[in-house]
């Protein structure tokens, strides 16, 4: 008898223990998923935030060496200043930081502390301040990528010299400059404004932001009306027949087609058959709109379906035609849902990369595009491009680009949530 009770108790304990274990597994699985969200974000942010400031080095530029009287600059046009030969003058200004060094090799190393465009930067300074240039001006010149990374602590200094891109003598110069208080940080505005560059310290996301904007604009212009109209037709007017069924199956299938297949469509039909220009936001936008259409159509149909029939019937009862009932009464009510779906579709399009690779939006573009017909990159493509580069400076740039991309996505999703909260009617 007691044996049996003991057996029972044992088996009950076993069952309860396995219940506990199972629960722990479940919690473990969920924490695992949550942890990766956290790790992903922390990883990106910790390596990316430093791209938003940059290292600059103060240099005294003796303009008197360039011209007898600095007031003469105010009479020069920009053209004249562009024609001034300033290369060796700029170099000399930099040598002025360490007047003692004689050797050519060391001088070269000193110059390499600065970004390759130091001459251009001095010229730009001259152009924008030409009316009141003093005999000597203090200019903040962009440091080279290696110096920037060392200054930010992203680059190990204790490697062997021949494994490092930055040499011992440069580190000596750099430490001396830091001691003299000439090295400082500045908000990295050029990063936000400029196009791509082969030099990490000069590369910016401006071009790809504009490219993404144009692409999304094209997607919006194409897919919003087409998606809404298609949804209205299918939900409100379509007769129940084979054609309608076929369209519906098609839309559901398209939603599941891998995005790269849309890239093949863009390459095969839009570029090679219709001959639209390669690498442009226009073509990218067309391809991405075809991809986002199913999302928009499905969301809009769902929100049209949620409009109670009493609204339609009320309108019809007072003599509206079917079209009037739909356009004046049903569609306005369903609009918040349609907008939410569109924004989510646009967010999807903004983060999409693979189809853009195939239609050539991976070109190296230095200029910020002016129209949707200029070759350009987009934010996610920029991430791909920079992640393939070897220089260390691109790592933080890539992470920073991802931060901006995620920022845009969060904003869009927030907008979608707000629209839904604010305008959604409960029936």
């Amino acid at each position: 008898m007691t044996d049996r009770i003991e057996q029972r108790i044992n088996s009950l304990n076993k069952r309860l223990n396995s219940e506990k274990r199972f629960r722990i597994y479940c919690i473990g699985a969920m924490s695992f998923a949550l942890a990766w969200v956290l790790i992903l974000f922390l990883n990106i942010f910790s390596s990316g935030y430093s791209a938003f400031y940059r290292t600059v080095i103060q240099v005294d530029v003796p303009f008197l060496n360039l011209i007898e009287d600095t007031t003469q600059f105010s009479e020069m046009s920009s053209e004249d200043i562009n024609n001034l030969s300033m290369y060796s003058f700029s170099k000399k200004a930099i040598y002025g930081l360490f007047p003692d060094i004689e050797e050519k090799k060391d001088k070269k190393m000193l110059i390499r502390l600065f970004s390759i465009e130091f001459e251009q930067e001095i010229r730009e300074f001259l152009k924008s301040n030409k009316s009141n240039i003093n005999e000597t001006e203090t200019i903040y010149l962009t440091a080279s990528d290696d110096v920037d990374q060392v200054n930010k602590g992203n680059y190990p200094r204790d490697l062997d010299e021949d494994k490092r891109r930055i040499k011992d003598i440069q580190l000596l110069f750099f430490d001396d400059l830091v001691d003299r208080g000439l090295v400082s940080y500045e908000f990295n505005l050029p990063f936000l404004m400029r196009g791509d560059s082969r030099e990490p310290e000069l590369a910016g996301v401006g071009g790809s932001i504009v490219g993404s904007l144009f692409t999304i604009l094209v997607v919006l212009i194409l897919s919003f009306p087409i998606g809404i109209f298609a949804a209205i037709y299918l939900e409100e007017f379509a007769p129940k027949n084979r054609v309608t069924d076929f369209i519906e199956i098609n839309i559901n299938n398209l939603a599941a087609v891998p995005s790269i297949v849309f890239g093949l469509l863009g390459l095969g039909i839009i570029l090679n058959t219709f001959g639209l220009p390669r690498s442009t936001p226009l073509v990218g936008g067309i391809v991405l709109s075809l991809m986002t259409l199913p999302t928009i159509i499905i969301a809009t149909r769902a929100s049209l379906r949620a409009v109670p029939p009493s609204i339609r019937e009320g309108a019809l009862a007072v003599g509206a035609t079917k079209m009037q009932a739909v356009m004046h009464h049903v569609v306005p009510v369903a609009m918040p849902g349609a907008l939410t779906g569109t924004i989510i579709g646009l967010a999807q399009a903004l983060g999409e990369t693979a189809p853009l690779l195939l239609i050539g939006m991976v070109a190296f573009v230095v200029d910020v595009p002016q129209t949707p017909l200029d070759a350009s990159a987009s934010l996610p493509v920029q991430v791909y491009l920079w992640s393939e580069s070897a220089e260390r400076g691109y790592v933080e740039k890539t992470s920073a680009t991802i931060m901006m991309l995620l920022g845009f996505l969060i904003l869009m999703n927030l907008a979608a949530v707000l629209i839904r909260r604010k305008f959604e009617t409960k029936w």
Partner: protein
């Protein structure tokens, strides 16, 4: 030019709406005419006449213009008869560049100078002509439709008919997209299979299209082609990476779904669910970067610590990160299915003295199985079609391997590798990418179809 013209047409459209509206009102008051529709429908009617034909004509002109311009500019060269088709198009590009001020010709012959002048002339004339034609047509039709307004005309019906046709056309875009996909994939694939036998593609063990590319200049014999385009290593790599991804995402996703639907308090659920769904909204290129820069080195270091040789582009890293990406697909779909199992089944099981785990494993999961299997299949199709993670974190060289620590390549990776940058169109290498795309398309469609069928056929109805 196009932008200005389209803005002008839209302006004319807006103006003609007011004109039509005004005229209808005037007719009503002055002539005592009994118009059939409300006044503003006459406005829409006139505006439609103003805008739609003009836009259609503009579309036609812009699509045919380049061809006619080329014919006109090259007419002297064509008359000579000594140029082939490709030479002519090359010549035309050169003439275009010369007209833009880029100097390409060493000696400017009279013929070419003439052609450049012709090009400049025709460009200017055709632009003017386009303006005149489009705007003239628009204006004429506005006049026609304005005078067409009378008491026999029911403009509401016409406008509504137009809208209906417009809506229907928009819904056809989905079909056109599918047709476009199938057509573009099939066309190139068939040309590919005319050079490489389909059996060699499907069963060949060696994938190295680069070699063909290099050897193209010389003679290509079919044996070479067959050896270069065996896709089995790609299929194997895709399968391996998808398998790793599923090994991560299936247990995690399913257990998360069970926790969400059965254990979690509403408060935890409200917080945790959206956070996990963030994983689905992160662009795949971000996962790719994360995999290549963080996870792959980590996997390599751990592997080396354990004394294994791990490739720096291991299938394991790519598959693992892909698995994390897929978690929310499985968890939210399974969550919905588990939640929709009727409450009576749970309560019946509890009444028999079953613990929660026993209820879940023996009652709920079997009841929800079709939906859960459906979500797995959808996740597999997503894993197979995923591109950026594998492009950035998996290997590029095709090698037949089942070792997750080795580099593996996938179908999508190879499509990107082949088609990124410049490609020439008639080479079997380029066409092979389309054949891969078709394979991908067919496989993902089949998986989705099967998933739907499973859900439809095996879901039991409890009412």
């Amino acid at each position: 030019m196009g932008f200005i013209l389209i803005s002008l047409i839209i302006l004319i459209g807006i103006a003609s709406y007011f004109l039509g509206n005004l005229r209808a009102k005037n007719l009503r008051t002055s002539n005592q005419k009994n118009l059939k529709s409300l006044s503003h429908y006459y406005g829409y009617y006139v505006a439609l006449w103003a805008v739609v034909p003009a836009l259609l004509i503009l579309l036609m002109i812009t699509s045919f213009k380049p061809f006619f311009i080329e014919q006109y500019v090259l007419s002297d060269f064509i008359a000579l008869g000594s140029y082939t088709e490709t030479e002519l198009s090359l010549l035309f590009t050169q003439i275009e560049n010369t007209a833009l001020g880029i100097k390409l010709f060493d000696e400017n012959t009279i013929l070419i100078n003439g052609a450049v002048n012709k090009l400049n002339y025709i460009n200017k004339t055709s632009e003017n002509l386009t303006y005149v034609t489009v705007l003239g047509l628009s204006g004429l039709l506005v006049l026609y439709s304005l005078f067409n307004i009378n008491n026999k005309l029911n403009s509401r019906k016409i406008v509504e008919k137009f809208l209906l046709v417009l809506y229907f056309t928009c819904s056809l875009v989905a079909i056109m997209t599918t047709v476009g996909i199938i057509f573009s994939l099939l066309y190139e694939t068939l040309r590919f299979f005319s050079q490489v036998p389909i059996t060699d593609f499907l069963f060949g063990l060696n994938w190295s299209p680069q070699r063909v590319f290099v050897r193209e200049a010389g003679d290509l014999d079919t044996r070479d082609l067959a050896n270069a385009f065996g896709a089995v290593p790609l299929f194997a790599g895709t399968f391996l990476i998808a398998l790793i991804a599923m090994c991560v995402s299936v247990p995690v996703g399913l257990l998360t779904a069970i926790y969400m639907s059965e254990y979690a308090s509403p408060k935890v659920r409200d917080w945790a669910k959206p956070i996990i769904e963030i994983l689905a909204g992160i662009p795949t290129v971000v996962y790719g970067f994360f995999a290549a820069l963080t996870v792959a080195p980590l996997v390599r270091d751990i592997g080396q610590g354990a004394g294994l040789t791990v490739s720096s582009e291991s299938a394991l890293a790519a598959g693992f990160v892909m698995g994390i990406m897929i978690i929310p697909f499985i968890s939210s779909l399974s969550d919905d299915v588990i939640k929709s199992v009727p409450q009576s089944l749970r309560e019946g099981s509890y009444a028999m003295g079953a613990t929660k785990r026993e209820t879940i494993v023996k009652v709920l999961l079997p009841a929800a199985l079709p939906g859960i299997v459906g979500s797995f299949l959808l996740a597999v199709s997503r894993a197979i079609g995923e591109t950026m993670i594998v492009v950035m974190a998996a290997g590029l060289n095709a090698k037949l391997t089942a070792n997750p620590l080795d580099a593996a390549t996938t179908i999508t990776t190879q499509i990107v590798v082949i088609l990124i940058g410049d490609q020439e169109f008639d080479s079997p290498k380029t066409q092979s990418a389309f054949a891969l795309g078709l394979t991908l398309f067919v496989v993902t469609l089949a998986l989705n179809f099967i998933a739907l069928q499973v859900v439809k056929k095996y879901t039991e109805r409890y009412d």
